[in-house]
């Protein structure tokens, strides 16, 4: 598994109300996704393309348990999220839905930088700057779930046992 795309860069404490605004939670995911992060970046949902990478600071995804926070990003094609740290429920949701969430303390990137993410190696490369960054390695069973495309495909593949 390898993700290669452009960086969209955000700060600390990007919350679930920014990612999946409550007033659109009744709507289908296609519509909800159009409002993803619009309160702080009205261009994001229009400009992001499949394989692009969201880069952020601390506690990315703080707030609600709503999985639509991850699904909205996935719907827009976001290939991975690299953040200094993740809020606990968002982190589980991301892996459960097959979106690699890589904690990386020292990635420096600007919007539009060319980023490559290698979850199995815990490696993040900024090709625009020529820098390589060590991210947190996922425990093997969780990596297996992400690479399967999430917990549901993983459960379908192996029958209904217990993960991790």
């Amino acid at each position: 598994m390898k993700i290669h795309g452009r960086a969209f860069v955000f700060g600390d404490n990007i919350d679930t109300d920014l990612l999946a605004p409550g007033p659109f939670m009744r709507a289908p995911i296609e519509e909800l996704a159009r409002h993803c992060l619009e309160a702080i970046d009205p261009d994001f949902a229009h400009q992001v393309r499949p394989g692009d990478v969201v880069v952020a600071g601390r506690s990315f995804g703080i707030g609600s348990s709503r999985e639509q926070a991850v699904q909205a990003l996935a719907q827009l094609g976001v290939g991975a999220v690299v953040a200094q740290s993740f809020a606990r429920i968002f982190y589980r949701n991301a892996l459960n839905l097959g979106v690699p969430a890589i904690a990386c303390a020292d990635l420096v990137a600007e919007r539009g930088d060319e980023i490559e993410v290698l979850p199995a190696e815990g490696l993040v490369i900024n090709h625009s700057r020529g820098t390589r960054h060590r991210g947190e390695l996922l425990p093997p069973r969780l990596l297996e779930i992400v690479e399967a495309g999430g917990l549901m495909p993983w459960l379908e593949r192996r029958g209904t046992g217990t993960p991790a």
Partner: protein, 423 residues
């Protein structure tokens, strides 16, 4: 071998002699709660695809609280699907009886020593009963419904000792806003265990606030060891606790990551400025802020004791001209009790509008949404941008005392001043 309360619960739930922070365990679930937003509508298609059934319907509770009462066809369909699914699966369903975290406690579902999963980030509220209860998303809920288990990384426990007593007009909400400002929202991997005289004095509803806002601290959960107050609440709920109370507490020499000590007497009412609970500071530090809407609602701030706090400030007073006060009691039972003891009348005589029980405007789903340029003060847990309506609205967070005092003044106001003047 000494252990924290959290260590003991997780060891029992995982069938291990002991657990070590950082270790990944698989734990058996004693109680699983989900609501109409993250529950059946998202879980049912997945269960069908897996051709799987609920592992133990007697351990599953569904609460419809997010889209209630239906305001459009989409929410009506979600609620109808939730009813059908709960009936077919044979699980307990509380339909429009109030907010899930409050309804669970009213019926005594969460008991000391339990390991519980909830499909909502404020599920940590259950920690007030000496249980380990965490919020997760719908895929985790699906996996748990099928297997009766989930995985987790054993957290470190941080001991939060609050000595002394809170001043009149200061509440558990002020403690948590203060902690959000002091510790920030990035406390992943930690459980906050609350203790000390100020906590021992608190009724269950206030202990629930301590644990509820573990979500805003970014912590795994919050917890308070059960005591006589807990047992009395469970007995009242009709499910008396029959286990060994002495076991379900941290050993005196247990190993904590940190031990904090705070002086409850010194705490002033706190207010969080937009757009983060971590933007909190004492109410007296603010320049006058004009308020369009005061909102008493949500699992964090509309239980009976919260309504009592608001009513003490509002008794014999009127909401300021140009300000509206909306009150969405946390549950149907809260409305019944607040009606019987005169609290509702005190609120409505002051000018409050009573809204249906449910997550409502706090979740950006129900009545009480905000327009661009409006300013709100709320007893809720979160003031993230756009949460209560327009992304151009400002939301301040405070206790029910402070929200009520602000509703009367029309601008941010220290409730201690009004309480001191009360007849």
């Amino acid at each position: 071998m000494s252990a924290t309360l959290v260590d003991k619960i997780l060891a029992r739930a995982s069938g291990q002699e002991r657990v070590v922070p950082g270790e990944i365990i698989t734990a058996g679930i004693d109680l699983l709660m989900m609501h109409d937003s993250g529950g059946p509508r998202r879980v049912a298609p997945r269960l069908e695809k897996l051709n799987a059934k609920v592992w133990d319907p007697s351990r599953v509770v569904v609460v419809s609280d997010h889209f209630v009462p239906a305001v459009d066809i989409e929410s009506a369909e979600i609620l109808a699907l939730t009813r059908r699914w709960a009936r077919d699966a044979g699980v307990r369903h509380y339909d429009m009886q109030g907010i899930c975290h409050v309804v669970l406690q009213e019926h005594g579902h969460v008991q000391p020593g339990m390991f519980c999963l909830g499909g909502d980030s404020h599920s940590c509220s259950g920690g007030a009963f000496g249980a380990y209860m965490i919020g997760v998303g719908a895929t985790d809920i699906t996996g748990a419904l099928v297997t009766g288990q989930t995985w987790l990384k054993v957290p470190d426990t941080v001991r939060m000792q609050w000595n002394g007593a809170l001043a009149d007009g200061v509440s558990a909400k002020d403690i948590l806003l203060f902690l959000c400002a002091t510790l920030g929202m990035g406390n992943e991997g930690l459980v906050f265990e609350y203790c000390g005289e100020a906590v021992e004095r608190m009724p269950m509803a206030e202990r629930m606030v301590l644990c509820n806002m573990a979500a805003e601290l970014g912590a795994e959960t919050g917890i308070v060891a059960a005591d006589a107050t807990t047992l009395a609440a469970l007995a009242r709920a009709g499910r008396p606790f029959e286990g060994d109370l002495g076991h379900w507490r941290s050993d005196p020499d247990a190993s904590y990551l940190h031990r904090y000590r705070f002086d409850a007497d010194a705490l002033a009412p706190q207010v969080a400025a937009p757009h983060s609970p971590a933007n909190s500071r004492p109410v007296g530090d603010y320049a006058p802020v004009r308020i369009d809407q005061a909102y008493v609602g949500a699992c964090t701030g509309a239980k009976l004791s919260d309504l009592h706090m608001a009513a003490r400030v509002l008794a014999g007073r009127k909401v300021a001209a140009g300000t509206r006060l909306l009150v969405a009691p946390a549950s149907a039972a809260t409305i019944t009790e607040a009606s019987a003891d005169g609290t509702l009348q005190t609120l409505t005589e002051a000018g409050a509008i009573i809204l249906p029980s449910g997550c409502g405007a706090c979740a950006g789903m129900g009545a009480g949404m905000l327009a661009a340029g409006e300013t709100c003060i709320a007893t809720t847990a979160r003031n993230f941008k756009g949460r209560m309506g327009s992304a151009q609205a400002d939301v301040y967070l405070a206790s029910p005392y402070t929200v009520a005092a602000t509703a009367v003044a029309g601008v941010l106001r220290d409730p201690r001043e009004l309480l001191a003047e009360s007849p």
